[in-house]
Symmetry: C2
């Protein structure tokens, strides 16, 4: 039984994922932007046309696919053509989701590389390419999980107000769905909690080391401008397939 997939545990799982994401952002922000790691081809032909970050992320997904990471309903790969699992399949009998093909990882990767990463990292090149790219791959995976958790959130909302949702779904009314899933109070409380955590988790670092450390308000900004909107986009896309 995978209790994290139960709708009753969605809120607790989302709260716990805040730590993962904040830690990941703090880790990445110790390095400068190092923009060459996002340029396809910059490191030559050996990376098969990928950027360094893309290469590391794809290699990571290839190995995790072998141990069936992407058979779990709360995991979504960034790459196609991954190897088949070498472990026997798990049956996720507790999976509450309706069958769907929603995967907005291309949007997430673009938002991360062009928006989030430059927002949290100081501009420059410190030659920490491998370390920064490993952080990027981990952060992208954490963001993808959090954002696609919108499916569980949407399913929960759908079950609570099925008839209102059905009406918007049958007419493919994206604006109505967007309104139905939006809860400003919950969004405010997420941002307040993230702000409190970000302050707590960055306080010690800024005092004690020479490493750059991300500002707490930058982490809140990442939630407000990318994570929450992309999460809502997943909710709408999921509902449209429901």
């Amino acid at each position: 039984m995978n209790e994290q997939l139960l709708l009753a545990n969605v809120r607790s799982s989302l709260i716990r994922q805040e730590e993962t994401i904040i830690f990941a952002l703090i880790e990445r922000a110790q390095f400068l932007t190092d923009t060459v790691i996002y340029e396809p081809g910059h490191f030559g032909d050996a990376l098969e046309g990928e950027s360094l970050v893309g290469f590391i992320l794809r290699e990571c997904e290839r190995s995790h696919a072998k141990v069936r990471r992407y058979t779990s309903p709360d995991e979504h790969p960034f790459f196609d053509n991954l190897p088949a699992p070498i472990l026997p399949p798990i049956h996720y009998s507790e999976n509450p989701l309706h069958e769907n093909m929603v995967n907005i990882n291309p949007l997430i990767r673009s938002a991360y590389e062009k928006g989030i990463m430059p927002h949290i990292c100081e501009d420059g090149d410190d030659k920490q390419y491998g370390s920064a790219a490993v952080c990027d791959a981990y952060t992208l995976q954490s963001l993808s999980k959090r954002i696609h958790y919108g499916k569980f959130v949407a399913e929960s909302k759908y079950r609570a107000r099925t008839s209102a949702f059905r009406e918007a779904i049958v007419s493919a009314d994206r604006a109505a769905l967007h309104d139905l899933i939006t809860d400003r109070d919950v969004e405010e409380s997420v941002l307040d909690r993230v702000a409190a955590k970000a302050r707590a988790y960055t306080r010690e670092i800024a005092d004690a080391t020479l490493s750059p450390c991300v500002a707490p308000e930058s982490i809140v900004h990442v939630y407000e401008n990318w994570i929450i909107p992309l999460n809502k986009q997943v909710q709408v896309e999921y509902l449209l397939e429901r």
Copy 2:
């Protein structure tokens, strides 16, 4: 120029690595011990005789080796026979270390799987095998980097008191070297700082979610009983090859 390798920056780098390790331990501790992931062969022949953790760690090292992670003087692989880098070599002109072959990763892996992980995780099986194993691989890499940083620490101490060290080195006097490198005041201040950070970083989680959260004193215990002693062992081994 990789400034992290400069002896002047060793202290700052060690302090910054505390965040990485504490975050990694907190992340792992949200899952139960899941001991089957450490059993070679438990998941069948497809993992080539490795445990799930060993398999994920080795796959990770294979991809990172391709992007030359283990050519950096502060990185040490757990596995042999890794693929050659596909990127051109970097020349670490700033590397202050004497040539050496010290790599105590087998000890670190054993200490982690038998000591550290069971100390920070609640006993049990929550079926989160993949997630837990990914955390393990990352934690092992962070611990390895921190512990092998003892080489830089030892080099720094050697340069400050060369004649005292040379005497112990020529007679291969491990006990004398151990005494020479030991600074109880520094160890105390590391433990105090780790305790303060661990309290700050675990406070929010314990309040807000159902996930198990590691106790701050367990993280201090990990430093006191494994990280610091293994770091000192690296220092002694390095000096004996100096």
